[in-house]
Amino acid sequence: MIKVSNLEKSYGNQKALKGISLEVAKGELFGLIGPDGAGKTTLMRILVTLLLPDQGLASLDGLDVVADFRKIRTMVGYMPGRFSLYQDLTVEENLQFFATVFGGTIEENYHLIKDIYVQIEPFKNRLAGKLSGGMKQKLALSCALIHAPKVLILDEPTTGVDAVSRKEFWEMLNNLRHMGITILVSTPYMDEANLCDRVALFQNGSILSIDTPKNITASFSKKLYGVKVETTAQRFECVGLLKELSGIDSVFSFGESIHITTVQQNIDETTVKEYLNQKGHQGISVGKIEPSIEDVFMELMQNEGN
């Protein structure tokens, strides 16, 4: 449904996209995972025909983003990173506006947005600018869907949104996928990668890896251990101490535990634990763990850097 090959885009001498290629199948929920400035927004803006590429090809459902831009605009739904609805129109007026612009009515495609819109319908007469963050997000998604697009392109819909609203939003995306809509979504939250069918890990205008979340974590090449400490103060000291231990490759805080990778065979659970005990830290537990997307992302970033 989406096909991108060797796409390049520069702003002045700043290369935003360094020749990227990817394909998204019909009905797939595809994630672009990466920090700000990685090139996610540039790629999305090219796909929705708001930006011209310097080099390379991009197409949606066989339509070229440059030559067929008019046709593409009728078949994509786009939710930009910044809230872009009319703040001084009401909830209902915004929805009405977007339906009309695409030559349709709310009733025609109401089934697509029903589950999402019912949650904000009680506030349909409120100005969009007066909605809370979570509600704005639901309205923006409704407006992007009301003309029944084949492809939905969502630029960081969950940034700055609390953990609960984020979870709800991903449930909505999952439902839309079951209706056959192809979804391309970007996010800086690494943990959200697991909710996608496939993801591309983005950094500095390049793709570090494209695959299913499962295959990506399986590609992690080192032994990974989780070190659990009892207090916050202890964590800070232990991170410092572990960095000094020879045979250790990387040390990162990871929520409640510290993740370490090793380069030497002679380092294992026991040696790490004994080392920290020796340095005066008790109540330490060390165990082998499965890598997360974030572990892989950091490993790939470091390889890139070297």
Partner: protein, 249 residues
């Protein structure tokens, strides 16, 4: 700074703090204390009242009722003194992008009335520490996000505040930079600066000494991450957050 009060006990003292906008109660009887050198996490859903609470703590908004002291100053009558004794950084806006790195330092120093000599000495010292000497005369707008973040944090600390407020400081930065940034936070806290931080990354909540979770204007949970996880019988702060949100419904 001559106004700094010593031996004031907890850096932030809040008792029955209320803020109403018309009939809407945005902050509903908050009570908590934050100690010197503590990393205090302040979490909550969008619209829970976090921003309103922080605006009062920073001296930007007068409370409706209740007691509030920050760095020893009163939240009603000494709001200007509070502003001078705190640092503030947000991901959204902290730096002037069309000024150079050096000009940003000058501006901050000027706003806080730091003498010229001290300003020059400290600017050089910080540029060296942040490895930003070569970028001294570059516009901030062109710096990588991770550098901007460190710069913004340093500027928030430039006038030696007793407490620094970090409002979603690490949104959107890459995972390596995010961790480097937390190393910096730990270092500063270790030196005795109190850190008051909001975040939507639940793994970052684990890095705080204590965490308060707000919901509908109230603090519904306040403890160490370990105690919260054991109380809510879950193994992550994500789990704590979700359980609290569900209980509400």
């Amino acid at each position: 700074m001559k106004e700094i009060k010593s031996d004031i006990g907890p850096i932030i003292q809040v008792k029955d703090l209320v803020k109403k906008f018309g009939s809407f109660v945005a902050v509903d009887h908050l009570t908590f204390e934050v100690n010197k050198g503590e990393i205090f996490g302040f979490l909550g859903a969008n619209g829970a009242g976090k921003t309103t609470a922080i605006r009062m703590l920073c001296g930007l908004l007068e409370p409706t009722s209740g007691a509030l002291q920050v760095a020893g100053f009163d939240g009603y009558h000494e709001r200007e003194a509070i502003k001078r004794n705190i640092g503030y950084m947000s991901q959204k806006f902290s730096l002037y992008e069309d000024l150079t790195v050096y000009e940003n330092f000058r501006l901050y120093a000027g706003i806080y009335g730091i003498p010229r000599k001290e300003r020059i000495r400290k600017t050089d010292e910080l540029l060296l520490k942040l490895k930003l000497e070569e970028s001294r005369d570059k516009l901030v707008g062109g710096l990588p996000l991770g550098w901007k973040q460190k710069l913004a944090f340093s500027l928030a600390l430039f006038h030696n505040p007793a407490v620094v407020f970090l409002d979603e400081p690490s949104g959107g930065v890459d995972p390596l930079t995010r961790r480097t940034f937390w190393d910096l936070i730990y270092e500063v806290a270790h030196q005795g600066v109190t850190i008051f931080v909001t975040t939507h990354y639940m793994d970052e909540a684990e890095y705080c000494n204590r965490v308060a979770i707000m919901s509908e204007g109230k603090i519904v949970a306040l403890d160490t991450p370990a105690a919260l996880k054991s109380y809510y019988k879950t193994d992550s702060m994500d789990g704590v957050f979700l359980k609290i949100a569900r209980n509400k419904e």
